[in-house]
Symmetry: C2
Subunit: 332 residues, 2 copies
């Protein structure tokens, strides 16, 4: 099983083989998590306020949620604020349907469904461990890979740093989950012994000639470094081991987007000496406050939302997209 | 002046306002650097071996460079190996023209020229400080911004981690350069005093209500954290100060791609406790050896190339694209 990460929805590859986890941490997928935490039955997605009004008219009794300038528009029950939902009276939410407007999130979910993704889940920091666990189980069952997707900004045209950080957290959990459950220590040794693919024998057009390297004053150090590198980084990508511990037919490099997101996540978490598997709210809060999405929330007085989306692993619900009826519906 | 970073050539925004630095560190832009370091006059770019053969036929006397399966194809003088170029006899290179094949690099350079970039430079670790300095000077002179662009893999469809790391180094240098030359300490204080844009007043629909936050057990800590955050991260992007120290008409958020690349770069460099302005070869070597591009070079016996592309600031030459004649030509 490969764990991949797409920095934008347009960068997902081989979608029909991917269990997809879509992340729009500030705030759509966190808001979706909050709705389900408070007991809503289902969430119908629209790409703008008019679509949501139309869904509302079709469904009859339902909650309308969306925002204009940071506030719920006239006639809407909620804005796009997890805090507002977490605080609302239970009677407003339990067992009800929601029509919810989210531009980038809806766009990403629609695109993945249209491209034939076998399963599309929504992820955030709040449900990180739950969504990672579910994705691994579903990918195994279906013989698929897992891709974590950052929704991005401006209709998926621009990288959204907060999404990539949250994706890094989920990639970390996926990687831990896949390793802890499935990778016997001997599998690596076995793989190395079997790694006799003729494409990957060590050639020598440059390596044998290291002492010739122009401008090189520390030949021995350099040769030593490179010998260490070859030992330290053998061609054994961590994702080359399938669930059964057998060698995959085509061992592939770890997806570089996943490495990037993981490194980014770790760079924030390490500032607080947090355990990356159980990060503190404080670490995510500091990270998101550095992002333009977090700046925006602070400036507009939604500071409590930044804290709410930073709570790791407080929700066990894994919303999935049901596209079998009219429009896109999220169920739990 | 804004410093931006595009993770793929397709993600560059507002190209006609960008002084562009294209990076394909393993190995095309490092190879280009090596050619100029050894005294070649100009480099004509082709997107494949046939294009390069055609350029060679047109120019008559020139060096042919390209690769198939890691080696120079029949009739070619060089493969895509900086080490091979750095080691070659001076008589083979000095004052000559080169026809050079590079898939992703040529594609990125062509695209940016077609989109109307005012200036396109090639950057790598070897010429990092020189290209950063030149880009800042040119952007000031032209009233432009600077974008650093990772060439990516597979025709710009896939993120290339080694490129993003090298871009992070150049973003760091650009940021240092812009700050050191131009940002008086008082400019930030002045900006904060002037930051009275009505769009950014502190609203209170959630912030005043923090103690209500559902599930919150450490109210005071949380409020304190968020108050600190608001103080710590005021809406003063580092790039809001123009060269003259005046407030830009539209202060913009730091581009999130640039932050991402910078964080990624720092995460590798900090493992070696290197000064990010003067990173060691050792740190880049370890970083690139973790990337699939570096794996590839190790496996194919081009370990010396990984070391050559990891030498920071050894080259003062800044190649630029000249598209005024036939095809794309790089000059120094």
């Amino acid at each position: 099983m490969n764990i991949e990460m797409a920095l934008l929805p347009g960068l997902v590859r081989d979608t029909p083989r991917q269990v997809c986890i879509v992340v729009d941490v500030l705030r759509a997928t966190s808001t979706i998590s909050a709705f389900f935490e408070r007991g809503v039955r289902e969430i119908h997605l629209g790409a703008n306020l008019d679509e949501v009004r139309a869904i509302g008219a079709r469904l009859g009794d339902c909650i309308l949620a969306g925002e204009r300038g940071g506030m719920a528009p006239p006639g809407f029950d909620f804005s796009n604020s997890p805090t507002q939902i977490l605080r609302a009276p239970a009677a407003m939410l339990e067992g009800r349907a929601v029509a919810f407007s989210t531009t980038n999130g809806t766009r990403a979910l629609r695109q993945l469904v249209a491209e034939g993704a076998p399963l599309v889940l929504t992820g955030c920091v709040r449900n990180g461990p739950a969504v990672a666990q579910r994705a691994i189980a579903e990918a195994r069952r279906r013989g698929c890979d897992v891709t974590v997707i950052a929704s991005g900004r401006e209709n998926g045209a621009k990288i959204c740093l907060d999404d990539v950080i949250a994706c890094g957290y989920i990639v970390h959990l996926l990687r831990q989950g896949a390793k802890l459950d499935n990778r016997p220590a001997s599998a690596v040794a076995q793989l190395m012994a079997e790694d006799d693919d003729p494409d990957y024998v060590q050639l020598d057009h440059a390596a044998t000639d290291l002492s010739d390297y122009a401008g090189e004053e520390e030949e021995e150090d350099f040769e030593e470094e490179q010998r260490n590198a070859i030992t330290r980084y053998p061609f054994i990508p961590w994702n080359a081991v399938s669930g059964s511990g057998e060698k995959s037919p085509t061992p592939r490099m770890a997806e570089e987007g996943a490495t990037l997101a993981l490194r980014l996540y770790q760079s924030y978490i390490s500032e607080y000496n947090d355990n990356p598997t159980q990060p503190s709210r404080r670490a995510f809060l500091a990270a998101f406050n550095e992002c333009s999405g977090g700046h925006h929330l602070l400036r507009y007085g939604w500071a409590a939302d930044t804290a709410a989306v930073s709570e790791a692993g407080v929700c066990d619900i894994v919303p999935y997209v049901d596209a079998s009826g009219e429009g896109l519906v999220l169920r739990r």
